[in-house]
């Protein structure tokens, strides 16, 4: 086993928790990868902020219709039973709690459920998109992320240092090393890589990992 999961493997693991027929929004970028790892026999219905429900994969290159795109401005296709709607109706679905799952990326997640994923500080051009809406938009808001930054610093922290996207909004985190729930403002460890000791995991985590019940092995296929 490699010493951490790849992004594709993290996305695979997150996909295993999406129920059949769930309504799901995947944040732009890395989270979009979750769609292709739905377990056999399950079919989620995907929502995109710009006004489509039940869209499918990208069309072959050269067959794009640029009036049929997702929130990341990628060309998509439609599945049978798709619907178009305007932006206020789209965010009524989000803000109104009609989605079952939203899966987002993260710069930092704090043990109190706070998420920072839109701004790395005052430099450059700020851009927020739909992130601040989505964190209040689903019955379950999950994060997928590498466990540490590219400099090796913890991304799971006691309190976020970067500008917040939302307060107390994250309920589960899938990382390259572990699966962690946020319960009563604490990180509760559910799964970790088999080859990794609890001490090693704690050492790269910025807040205490609570043990409550069995810790399963985090496993994902080679992808």
């Amino acid at each position: 086993m490699s010493n951490k999961l790849s992004n594709a493997q993290i996305a695979w693991r997150a996909a295993q928790d999406i129920e059949n027929e769930a309504y799901v929004n995947l944040g732009i970028g890395f989270p979009e990868m979750v769609a292709k790892f739905q377990p056999p026999g399950r079919q989620a219905i995907f929502h995109t902020e710009n006004g489509i429900l039940n869209f499918g994969e990208s069309p072959p290159e050269g067959e794009e219709d640029w009036d049929l795109i997702n929130a990341g401005k990628k060309a998509v296709t439609l599945k049978p039973g798709a619907a178009f709607f305007h932006h206020a109706d789209s965010f009524a679905m989000v803000r109104g709690g009609h989605l079952d799952v939203a899966i987002l990326g993260a710069y930092e997640v704090a043990e109190n459920g706070d998420l920072a994923n839109w701004s790395t500080g005052p430099k450059g051009v700020p851009a927020v998109g739909g992130a601040m809406d989505l964190v209040h938009g689903a019955k379950r808001v999950a994060v997928i992320t590498d466990h540490v930054t590219k400099h090796g610093q913890p991304k799971l922290v006691k309190r976020c240092s970067l500008p917040l996207t939302g307060v107390g909004c994250v309920t589960r985190i899938y990382t390259s090393l572990a699966v962690i729930d946020i319960v009563d403002q604490r990180f509760v460890l559910r799964e970790k890589l088999a080859g990794l000791s609890l001490e090693e995991l704690q050492a790269v985590t910025g807040a205490e990992l609570v043990i409550a019940g069995d810790i399963a092995d985090l496993v994902a296929p080679e992808i």
């Binding site: 039940n54 049978p80 206020a88 009524a92 109104g96």
Partner: protein
């Protein structure tokens, strides 16, 4: 994904005493008569559901639909804008006898409160009712030199609505002005139950022509020969 259920009884399962029900329709246009009458049948057979709060623009007409629910004694409270009709006996008698509660809401505010309930907007400001008896006790605020009343969202446990077409995923269209409150109620209820004139396969409704997207719908029952409340009224039908 198939949200169709075999019959009215299955469609109405889990509707319990004390719940708030939004019922689509404006007058007879869009009134889900078969769903309502099946719920009355259940009440007669089992004694429940009762003590219901009903949200609709009106408070029933004649001895059918919502009026028949009131006659049957299932309704504790009406939230509506206009509890009058060609034949408002059912509500009027109970109201004057103090046996039913009324929350009177201006029609546009009622629509917007339901829309807010579905859209996750807990409160909004409107000019409607400012300075009137219906604004009493509500917060007021000034914006750009004009006074407004704060209104709260309205949600329900269940919505009962009537659609023209429904695909199995719950995408809906409505017939003419039978649309009225139904798309709003579908979004504002925890459980949305639809009677459709026709159930079609996913893909049969043009995605640009869907009025209520399927994620707002939980159960669909096909009632191909659905009755129109106004036509029943004019035929002198009574369900009480």
């Amino acid at each position: 994904m198939d949200k169709t259920v075999p019959d009215l009884a299955a469609a109405l399962a889990d509707i319990a005493d004390g719940m708030t029900l939004m019922i689509g329709g404006f007058g007879g246009a869009g009134a889900p008569i078969e769903l309502i009458h099946a719920l009355i049948d259940r009440f007669r057979a089992t004694g429940g559901p009762t003590n219901l709060t009903i949200v609709n623009n009106n408070a029933g007409n004649g001895r059918i639909g919502i009026a028949a629910m009131i006659d049957a004694g299932m309704v504790a409270k009406m939230i509506c804008s206009f509890p009058r009709s060609a034949d408002p006996r059912a509500f009027t008698e109970k109201y004057l006898a103090g046996q039913i509660e009324l929350e009177l809401v201006p029609q546009g505010t009622l629509a917007e409160r339901i829309r807010a309930g579905g859209a996750g907007i807990p409160a909004f400001y409107t000019p409607t009712s400012y300075g009137t008896d219906l604004a009493k006790g509500k917060p007021e605020a000034e914006f750009d030199g004009r006074m407004y009343v704060q209104e709260r969202w309205l949600k329900a446990d269940v919505a009962l609505i009537k659609a023209e077409l429904a695909d199995r995923q719950g995408n809906l269209t409505y017939r003419k002005a039978a649309r009225n409150f139904s798309p709003l109620m579908a979004a504002a209820a925890g459980l949305t139950v639809v009677q459709a004139m026709r159930v079609v396969e996913p893909g049969a409704i043009d995605p640009e022509q869907v009025i209520t997207p399927g994620l707002f719908v939980n159960r669909i029952v096909e009632i191909a020969d659905a009755q129109q409340e106004e036509a029943l009224m004019r035929a002198g039908v009574a369900y009480s």
